[in-house]
């Protein structure tokens, strides 16, 4: 497998380019704010940061249609924001407020949005893959030409359910887009310490899925590969597998001593920061200047400030409602 890269010079409309950059910046600044809020004890629980991996979500989502489905991971703030979940609702969820996208019941790891067909952050590694297979099965049985995009990490590839799901989706030729965010670590366990064969795209291919590995730090490469694969899936070509090679710059969850990786390695990857990489390319193309960059940052800062204020003003679920949503409250047709 070769890693596909969009090699500059490239042609891109300025508005779209700035939109991609804006999306990555939203995710980055949102999470930086989350770190601050966590330190101030406004946010609790596990908070798995996506910083460093923004190009994946920001590149995937524009390639999907509004009625496609998303099955996300527990490191899904970026996936949720890029999919269009309102930042207010995501931040309120981080705060555990009723106005949160899961009424505060899920928290950082369980962001849901039915309207966006965002089937949730799943915190069992690999647990989302069978769901995606089933959602795709339903769409096909109902005659709906939709794609189900399923995110998971490199750690999931070690789970049996990964192999079962790829097999079943391929066997039944279901419209699933398997999106592996390979950040090289399953928590603290490096890929090569857990897998006899580290080329995940090659292993996926063994189930008969067309598979490719993409530079996950290059938002344009991500977008292009996803658009291509989604079109093939939509055309009835069965499932596809994309492995995005990326890296998380911060700890597994907020803070850890990072005993499992070299500081040099982190610095090498940071040199390929997807935001800096893309911003630099846009500047070279003359599509971005300081003023435009400042405007983007201001926009993002204002949106985050608004989201924090919204979450701060949010309500807590009354304790009397503790046992709601264990069973459905009304029968659905």
């Amino acid at each position: 497998m070769t890693v596909q890269q969009a090699s500059p010079p490239f042609t891109i409309e300025r508005d779209h380019a700035l939109a991609l950059l804006h999306q990555m910046l939203r995710i980055r600044r949102f999470e930086e704010k989350c770190v601050e809020l966590y330190s101030a004890t406004k946010i609790r629980g596990f908070v798995h940061l996506y910083i460093g991996e923004e190009a994946v979500a920001a590149g995937v989502m524009p390639a999907l249609a509004a009625d496609d489905a998303i099955v996300a991971t527990y490191r899904e703030h970026g996936q949720a924001l890029a999919r269009g979940l309102p930042m207010r609702a995501v931040m309120a969820e981080m705060y555990g407020r009723v106005e949160g996208c899961s009424r505060g019941r899920g928290g950082s790891m369980h962001l849901f949005d039915a309207a966006a067909r965002f089937y949730g952050g799943n915190a069992i590694v690999g647990g989302g893959l069978p769901l995606a297979v089933g959602v795709a099965l339903a769409d096909r049985m109902r005659g709906l030409n939709r794609v189900t995009a399923c995110f998971f990490g490199d750690g999931a590839a070690a789970e049996g359910v990964f192999h079962e799901s790829l097999n079943l989706a391929s066997l039944w030729q279901l419209p699933v887009l398997f999106l592996c965010e390979n950040n090289l670590y399953a928590m603290g366990t490096a890929l090569e310490r857990a897998h006899a064969r580290t080329d995940l795209a090659a292993r996926a291919a063994s189930y008969g899925l067309p598979s490719e590995a993409i530079d996950g730090m290059d938002v344009l490469a991500v977008e292009a590969a996803t658009a291509r694969a989604a079109a093939e899936v939509r055309a009835g070509g069965g499932p596809r597998f994309l492995e995005f090679r990326t890296y998380r710059f911060r700890a597994h969850s907020l803070y850890d001593p990072e005993l499992y990786r070299d500081r040099d390695e982190v610095e090498r990857w940071k040199a390929r920061d997807p935001i800096a990489l893309f911003a630099g390319a846009l500047r070279e193309q003359g599509l971005l200047d300081d003023e435009a960059m400042a405007r983007l940052e201001d926009d993002v800062a204002a949106e985050i400030a608004d989201a924090v204020a919204f979450a701060e003003a949010g309500a807590l679920e009354p304790v009397e409602d503790l046992t709601r949503f264990v069973y459905s409250e009304e029968r659905r047709p």
């Binding site: 489905a69 899961s102 069978p130 339903a138 109902r142 359910v161 799901s165 097999n167 046992t323 409250e329």
Partner: protein
């Protein structure tokens, strides 16, 4: 005025279950059956025989041996608008899918703040008595009854085998149906147009005044046989079929115990931490001052189920052991 008796048909539990699946496939195009060997093979226990020919491979789907994934796929399909019936061969195999059942089916509605319900039915075989040894014979429905978000049904009669599936499919939340393997050959008459059954209440299968035998599933027959023996001795036992293990119908149990003042719980599951412990605790909580004797339990011996016939039978609740427990409760007052 003449009354016409409703037409009845003679059938087995297996056939009743098949008729229920068939009816569901006919009535609702969102319904499909999925599992290992449900299609060409006709079902491991021949429940789905003939359905592939009638409904085709889209709606009667053979799956690979990957319980976690095909159960998860059932959850996903339910999330996205279908009404899947997922069959797992035996409750022991369902442990391979426990992650999907517990971490997704039971939690998604709650984690999503009420946005995503899972209208899924999972059927599986449970119970011992067919010399299938320690990986095909256990009664783990009590484990599943521990999990908030699930509903647990245990059809013990032909009526329930025929009638529980459709209301389960109408339920907006995941429903697990446990079919005791010994019951598949149970035979009897049912109305050709069977009346609907509820999936919320326990049923009094035999009224009585002296004590209450509380059971479900495969041991309903055991309890009824014990009640017959006791009747011959002048002890009038009431037999309650729980039918629904979650949510438990406390009211029926407590009302009976308030009358009889004595209860024996008969559970094919193990005693320690099992469903019988739960029922016993609820009686203690809700009917303590009605009790005239300690609640008694007759459960399976705490061993992995052995293969030889005599040991397997010794491990299971039997009419004799149930009757003996009942007599001990009545004590010397009844000689």
């Amino acid at each position: 005025m003449t009354a016409t008796l409703p037409a009845t048909v003679k059938l087995t539990y297996r056939e009743a279950m098949r008729a229920a699946i068939r009816e569901a496939l006919q009535r609702d195009e969102r319904v499909f059956l999925m599992g290992e060997d449900v299609g060409r093979y006709g079902g491991c226990f021949a429940v789905s025989q003939g359905l592939l020919a009638e409904f085709g491979p889209e709606r009667v789907r053979d799956t690979p041996l990957s319980e976690d994934t095909f159960v998860g796929a059932g959850i996903g399909a339910a999330l996205a608008g279908m009404r899947p019936i997922v069959e797992i061969m035996t409750v022991n195999f369902s442990l391979l899918a426990l992650d999907q059942i517990m971490n997704n089916a039971a939690t998604l509605l709650h984690m999503s703040g009420g946005q995503f319900n899972v209208p899924l039915v999972i059927r599986m075989t449970t119970g011992a008595g067919r010399q299938l040894a320690a990986q095909h014979s256990h009664s783990l429905e009590g484990w599943f009854a521990h999990i908030p978000g699930l509903k647990i049904l245990v059809p013990a009669t032909l009526e329930d085998a025929r009638g529980m599936l459709w209301p389960a499919l109408q339920d907006p939340d995941p429903v697990l149906i446990f079919e005791n393997g010994r019951l598949y050959t149970l035979e009897g008459e049912l109305p050709a147009e069977p009346p609907p059954v509820d999936i919320a209440h326990a049923a009094v299968r035999r009224p009585g005044d002296d004590l209450t035998l509380i059971t479900y599933g495969g041991t309903l027959g055991t309890a009824l046989a014990a009640a017959d023996r006791l009747a011959a001795e002048g002890i009038d036992a009431e037999v309650i079929d729980l039918r629904v293990l979650r949510p438990l119908d406390d009211a029926t149990v407590l009302a009976s115990v308030a009358r009889t003042h004595r209860a024996v719980i008969v559970d094919e599951g193990w005693r320690s931490g099992g469903l019988s412990a739960e029922v016993s605790a609820r009686i203690m909580e809700g009917a303590f001052y009605d009790l005239d004797a300690p609640v008694a339990r007759v459960c399976s011996a705490e061993v992995p189920m052995p293969y030889p016939y005599h040991l397997e039978q010794a491990a299971l609740p039997q009419p004799d052991t149930v009757a003996a427990a009942a007599r001990a409760l009545i004590g010397a007052a009844h000689g």
